[in-house]
Symmetry: C2
Subunit: 448 residues, 2 copies
């Protein structure tokens, strides 16, 4: 019998496996896909060009990610962040430098007030128990939309705040509880951190792509890894826990679950999971984000003084653009985020139409050179059966106050990891790693 | 190859099967449980006493239910509705007659204003497209809690309205979108109808229990019914659709799905269901209701002038009580509804503690005679793996405006029934029947 079985080889499962390996414990790491990395994935276009189609950024206070990159010898580099930004508002393109868009001053002040207000509220959250903050019932009884609509006094203010927050949460603002939004902000330090490149969550990328790190982490325990092993049933009793799939069964003392919430509901548990966990699982839904990427011979926009960054209102197919070129700018990559309702519309189109709409959009922003990329790629994470969405699970209204931390609560021999169980950097790769390490340490305690 | 396969033998599946049978079509009706009836279930205590542990009431405008009862020769009778009601507020019991509780006049007027306001808003909903009503974005961006909290000016008003609405929706008020609540109200005619016995959704019960009707409906096509047949995979192509379970496979031209939303996510569909449907399925969660029942030799409370009806605030374990005795009052049944957070707390207790808490509560209301029932029974529908909750699926904020009727939309050879796909009497048995009949007729069209 094994000491432990880890289900899911995303960053959370890999981080857990690493700890068990170091402790000399016997374990298996089961993964449904044909690769490790989960919601991160680096796609190689040829031997020298790659795209990070999943999670790709790290930033200050994501200490575990920097430590792992250092340990495995993966270098990081600065996200390109110079030159003019673009604001596409009411079908009109405006360019501006720095953090302050070219808009009427009332809307500008309004934006500042709304974001500061959110920030101030978030500061009151204790991430270990968001339901205990002052006025938690009211905050969890309303949506982020409700809050934003009430505090944005001009329509332009609302449009800009909305596109920004949609990019942070990967959902429509009416799909998430205000309390969850505050928790999420606090969990990732503060709102400014989540929105920023410089000193923010988008500051750095890994050379060779995020999956390079995942692969290197998996390297020492390749023989413990089983790809193409989707789990269908988990049975626990006083002696052990059994993990079943279509053609396999493994037994262990402990299981660490490190998969996204909607996938948990697809596994049969015997005995059934506690009511409070299954009910919460019915409520947590995944965000929906598509990444739309354009590869060019060079990051040509830099030469004409553009940063590659865009914020666009709901008339446009994509909320935001970033420069996602590799470290030295050997070739150019523009990355557009297509989120929530915009993703549901865009990805309902056939590929040829998506491509032509995407090229028309990017050409509007960056001129005719943008019309002919070497390569076009788009990917909607909600289409992936083994993720069902990105970036993370979202708590609707009522979930935190009625269910608390039920998602993370241990159920006998099953330990629950995954970024959605992390108090710190919930929804980010850093949160995944922290949760995996946390549960691995807990398992080691029980094995002593 | 069969003409059709119906998945789920609740009222929706039975109603569909009935139509296909009448049209002389070949079909199978697959059911995971060992019985028909779905979220209705009549439990026989002995040869003469029964309890309706699931859905049990019908009322005016539920025309299909009355027509079916008539057709199958099942009689109905009036829910007992005379005498004093009880209001348990701030640990104090007050009795009153009729519809108006004994409370301070400000709270009474406030209750009236809040319910009328809800009612007025609901009147604007077009049930075929709730997302198109005036201010739909605002209404779907807030919760029923938010609305109720804002319009209830006294704490007693809030307590009473809350207990009433929790009983209607089977959830905490912060778990449901205001727009969904309005749709639900309109779908069941109006709020007064949903709250009332007389001329309302609780007016009538079936003699012999609700399952009597389900059984009689199933009788003519017993040979088409397969119990213990949970479906795990559905594969469709240009020629046909295959329905797989652990030890079976059936092929047909069409499938009618008639199961609760969370169970749909547990089936593997090939090709995958459209994104908009799978995403909505991640968001729709089931209400949670437990029925707590006390069987006595006689409905003794009637003799002392009580109706058996109670409304109790959040300090008490149950929201509401009703007299659920059989037609002639041959024996007495008190029924308590235990809903949402109260259910999550109550059903986390061991059975002996539940029973003693329940008896203490009912004794407080109806005196020492209530302390010694012949029989005690409680049942939490969220514990049933083949329902996962009751009464119905709930739309959180953002679901109606972002996803519309995606739940009911046909996907090639799969037709979607179940009460959650019904515009009329959504969440009620009537809605289940109507949806099953609607999809059966649609299937017949495609078979012609």
């Amino acid at each position: 019998m094994l000491d432990a079985i880890i289900i899911g080889a995303g960053f959370s499962g890999l981080a857990a496996a690493r700890i068990l390996r170091q402790a000399g414990r016997s374990f298996l790491l089961l993964e449904a896909r044909d690769r490790v990395g989960g919601r991160t994935h680096t796609r190689w276009l040829n031997t020298s060009q790659y795209l990070d189609v999943g999670g790709m950024w790290i930033g200050p206070t994501q200490d575990r990610m920097y430590a792992l990159a250092r340990e495995y010898g993966v270098e990081w580099y600065e996200t390109y962040n110079q030159g003019q930004n673009i604001l596409d508002l009411n079908q009109r393109i405006r360019t501006y430098k720095g953090l302050i868009p070219r808009m009427d001053v009332v809307s500008l002040i309004n934006i500042d007030v709304v974001l500061k207000k959110l920030e101030r509220l978030a500061r009151n959250v204790d991430v270990r128990q968001p339901w205990a903050m002052p006025k938690a019932a009211q905050l969890d009884g309303q949506t982020l939309y409700d809050f934003t609509r009430r505090h944005c006094k001009t329509s332009d203010c609302f449009k800009v705040v909305r596109a920004g927050l949609e990019t942070v949460f990967a959902c429509e603002l009416n799909e998430v509880s205000l309390l969850h939004a505050l928790f999420y902000i606090r969990s990732g330090t503060n709102l400014n951190t989540l929105l920023s490149i410089q000193n923010g969550a988008q500051q750095h990328r890994l050379k060779g792509g995020m999956q390079t790190l995942a692969e290197k982490m998996a390297e020492p325990f390749r023989e413990n890894l089983r790809l193409h092993h989707p789990v269908t049933r988990v049975v626990q009793n006083n002696q052990q826990i059994e993990v079943h799939g279509e053609n396999f069964r493994f037994d262990a003392q402990r299981v660490i679950m490190a998969i996204p919430p909607p996938l948990i509901s697809q596994i049969r548990f015997e005995p059934q999971l506690p009511l409070i966990k299954t009910q919460l699982l019915q409520k947590v839904s995944m965000g929906i984000v598509g990444k739309v990427m354009f590869v060019y011979e060079k990051p040509f926009w830099r030469e004409t003084g553009f940063s590659g960054q865009v914020v666009a209102d709901e008339h446009q197919p994509f909320q935001t653009f970033f420069d996602a070129s590799p470290a030295g700018g050997e070739y150019g990559v523009l990355l557009a985020f297509c989120i929530a309702n915009r993703a549901r519309s865009f990805f309902a189109l056939p590929e040829a139409e998506r491509k032509s709409l995407a090229l028309a959009t990017t050409t509007r922003y960056f001129g005719p050179q943008a019309a002919s990329p070497q390569h076009y790629a788009d990917h909607c994470w909600a289409d992936e059966p083994w993720s069902q969405g990105c970036y993370a699970g979202l708590y609707p209204t009522g979930a935190w106050t009625n269910f608390g931390h039920a998602l993370a609560a241990r159920t006998n021999r099953i330990h629950w990891a995954g970024t959605e169980t992390s108090d710190i950097w919930y929804g980010y790769i850093e949160g995944a790693v922290r949760s995996g390490e946390r549960e691995a340490h807990e398992v080691l305690q029980t094995l002593l």
